[in-house]
């Protein structure tokens, strides 16, 4: 088992990084009820962990017995019927799904599953009607229509199901949905907190950590705890006992982006652009999301630039990333950014050195 899963805190009492949030959540569910919740924060901050711990607090250990199902829905949408298929993760008390996987038909999924859950409400041992919890991931990727239909359904069926929404940025969730939930912000853990967690894992595994080693991992992790733990484990596999100057392996795609960046800096010509295009294609075909490539590329380029050029470059990065959202093919926009950068940089070189 990966350490990320092995040392994931199972209950609200055991969390290390977001103790204050966890205590508040515990108070929240202590009255045997909870409002709709919206968790937001950057990835790797611990949203999912907290949600699972919260469910466990509410329902006990039975939430951990999950089964994966491929559900089919037949939805009557006006004149035609739609066949929808989606993978769900469910226990007796909760259902978890990624509605945005259904693409533009996400609206029907959201409505159907909530209705279905409302129809068969669980009955507890005392014969009282309980409620189920529906965990929706990536609500920020839901279409506007789906979010709108969510707001009414949330109110209508609030007696029989509670929603826990989870997303990266709450600005993409409509105000109407946000205002119906209790918003919980989960910030990325600070580097010191990551160090604490790494040392905790080190102790549990019985490892000798040289001083400053955990801090170096934390620094490289971009404040993502998941990433820090993963690279910690990689280090362990590569070389143990740890040495102080041990190399902390970077993600290979990051190294690749770095390569692209230095390619661009070295030569600005159509030929080089063509080579870069091949490399970007390689990244894309390895399922690295285009906006992450663009962001990383910008990050690497900014490190090498004079500060007067930085403003302009970051402006164009924002510009082309926006275009990428509106358009279809990501490669065009990344390439356009690279070409734009080359022309700016070349112009700068000519004007400075003649």
């Amino acid at each position: 088992m990966l350490w990320v899963d092995k040392y994931r805190p199972r209950s609200l009492d055991k969390v290390i990084v977001h103790q204050d949030v966890a205590q508040n959540l515990k108070k929240l569910v202590s009255e045997q009820d909870c409002p709709h919740l919206l968790f937001y924060g950057p990835s790797g901050a611990g949203k999912k962990t907290l949600i699972m711990a919260l469910l466990r607090q509410m329902f006990g250990a039975s939430v951990e017995k999950v089964k994966v199902e491929n559900k089919n829905w037949k939805v009557d949408a006006g004149s035609r019927t739609l066949d929808l298929e989606l993978t769900t993760l469910s226990s007796t008390h909760h259902v978890e799904l990624n509605p945005s996987d259904a693409g533009f038909q996400d609206r029907y999924i959201v409505q159907e599953i909530i209705k279905e859950m409302a129809k068969n409400r669980p009955i507890d041992t005392k014969g009282k009607k309980g409620f189920k919890v529906l965990v929706l991931n990536e609500v920020d990727k839901l279409s506007r229509e789906a979010q709108h239909s969510l707001r009414r359904t949330m109110e209508k069926y609030s007696a029989s199901c509670r929603l826990i929404l989870c997303c990266n940025s709450s600005s993409k969730v409509t105000e109407a949905v946000r205002s119906r939930c209790l918003n919980v912000r989960i910030n990325a853990p600070k580097e010191e907190e990551i160090v604490d967690v790494l040392e905790f894992i080190g102790r549990k595994e019985g490892l000798q950590l040289p001083s400053g080693f955990a801090a170096r991992i934390a620094e490289k992790s971009n404040r993502s705890l998941r990433r820090a733990i993963l690279s910690f484990e990689t280090c362990r596999v590569q070389q143990y006992p740890f040495t102080n100057n041990q190399l902390i392996p970077a993600m290979d795609w990051e190294v690749y982006v770095l390569e692209i960046a230095s390619d661009i800096m070295k030569e600005q010509s159509p030929k080089r652009l063509f080579q870069v295009r091949g490399k970007v294609y390689e990244l894309l075909s390895n399922c690295i999301p285009p906006e992450i490539i663009l962001k990383r590329l910008l990050f690497e380029l900014l490190k090498k630039l004079d500060s007067e050029l930085k403003h302009e470059v970051c402006h164009w990065a924002a510009y082309y990333e926006h275009r990428m959202r509106l358009g279809q093919k990501a490669i065009f926009h990344i390439e356009a950014f690279v070409a734009k950068f080359m022309s700016i940089y070349k112009g700068f070189l000519i004007s400075t050195f003649g």
Binding site: T125, R185, H311
Partner: protein, 341 residues
């Protein structure tokens, strides 16, 4: 053991005024409407105004007071944006409901006028086609049906519809009215709210009573019965003043690396970028040492970034762009880049 179901009604619903005369702060509207209630004669109506000022409450209250609980179901049709309201619905559902005539039999003490009411909530999100389809329907069935439109922006209602209605503007609530209402809810729920928290609450909710009550309930659930102003800030998702101030001062410093660091910090803390942009706007608009031209330049970029965010653009890049633009404006660096080729 599974949790028991308790009365977890949102306070917004629980403390919604049931009678027209209880609606706070909208005196003119209330005066006209009480008159309507007495004579049981009412025109088509259009309520508009910012969110949380009592539009839906008023519409529902009138309907309830006219018909009473028994007839309410058969006489009132309530549709809002989450129901399907395309042109087909207007042609079938609304038309069918509107066409049915009703008698004048009385139930209890309610006036029960001989017409039905269709409440179209959030009417500004109806398509133009759907609104056009309503025009004739409104006139044809005006004997037996009254329409209540509720919207935030009257400009999104097509002129022919607006001209068929009596318009009522709902004003944003003043702080005193809001404080009264909040204090009433606090005493009913047994909450302890100090004056500082009360003023924080009215400043973060900006005249929107619904939002204020939602925040209050959220805070009460999370932090128990005595609520501090910091708790309210946490629940509302408003960004602490220091963070915005820090971002502004890095922009002012003219150092790009500092700004970049601050931006990644904001993103890592998980603050919503649209929120930070609007708070940064509030901060800059009130500053005296920034010239009008500088302000205009900064805000132009903010507007563009806001649009991009709605289109789904990346938050980090947009905020960085806003910050770098603000920095250029504040430090009088050259602003314009050669545009597209």
């Amino acid at each position: 053991m599974a949790p028991l179901l308790q009365s977890s009604q949102p306070w917004v619903e629980k403390y919604r005024p049931r009678q027209v005369k209880d609606v706070a702060h909208q005196d003119e509207v209330v005066r006209v409407l009480t008159n309507t209630l007495e004579t049981a004669n009412c025109p088509h109506m259009l309520f508009y105004g910012p969110p949380g000022t009592g539009k839906t409450t008023t519409a529902l209250a009138i309907a309830h007071e006219l018909y009473g609980p028994e007839l309410y179901k058969s006489r009132v049709l309530e549709l809002n944006a989450s129901d399907d309201r395309g042109i087909n619905v207007v042609r079938t559902k609304i038309k069918n409901f509107a066409a049915v005539a009703v008698g004048t039999q009385r139930h209890g003490n309610y006036p029960c006028p001989p017409y039905k009411i269709i409440i179209l909530d959030e009417a500004d999100s109806m398509t133009e086609d759907a609104q056009n389809a309503l025009r004739r329907t409104m006139e044809t069935y005006s004997k037996v049906t009254r329409f209540f439109f509720i919207c935030n922006y009257i400009s999104r209602i097509i002129e022919p519809l607006a001209s068929r209605c009596a318009k009522f503007r709902f004003k944003p609530l003043t702080d005193e009215i809001m404080n009264d209402r909040i204090a009433y809810i606090c005493s009913a729920e047994g909450l302890d709210l100090d004056p500082e928290a009360l003023s924080t609450l009215s400043s973060i909710s900006q005249g929107d009573l619904r939002r204020a009550i939602t925040y209050l309930q959220g805070a009460a659930r999370l932090f128990g019965s005595s609520i501090l102003s910091t708790d309210l800030v946490t629940v509302s998702g408003v960004i602490p003043e220091e963070v915005v101030q820090a971002l502004y001062s890095t922009c002012k410093s003219g150092n790009f690396e500092l700004a970049e660091k601050e931006v990644s910090n904001v993103i890592a803390e998980g603050y919503p970028v649209s929120q930070i942009i609007s708070q940064l706007f509030d901060l800059i608009v009130g500053l005296d040492d920034v010239s009008d031209e500088q302000k205009a330049r900064i805000f132009k970029k903010m507007g563009e970034a806001d649009k991009c965010l709605i289109d789904g653009a990346d938050e980090y890049l947009q905020l960085l762009d806003v910050a770098s633009n603000a920095m250029r404006a504040l430090c009088n660096m050259p602003l314009e880049f050669p545009s597209e080729f």
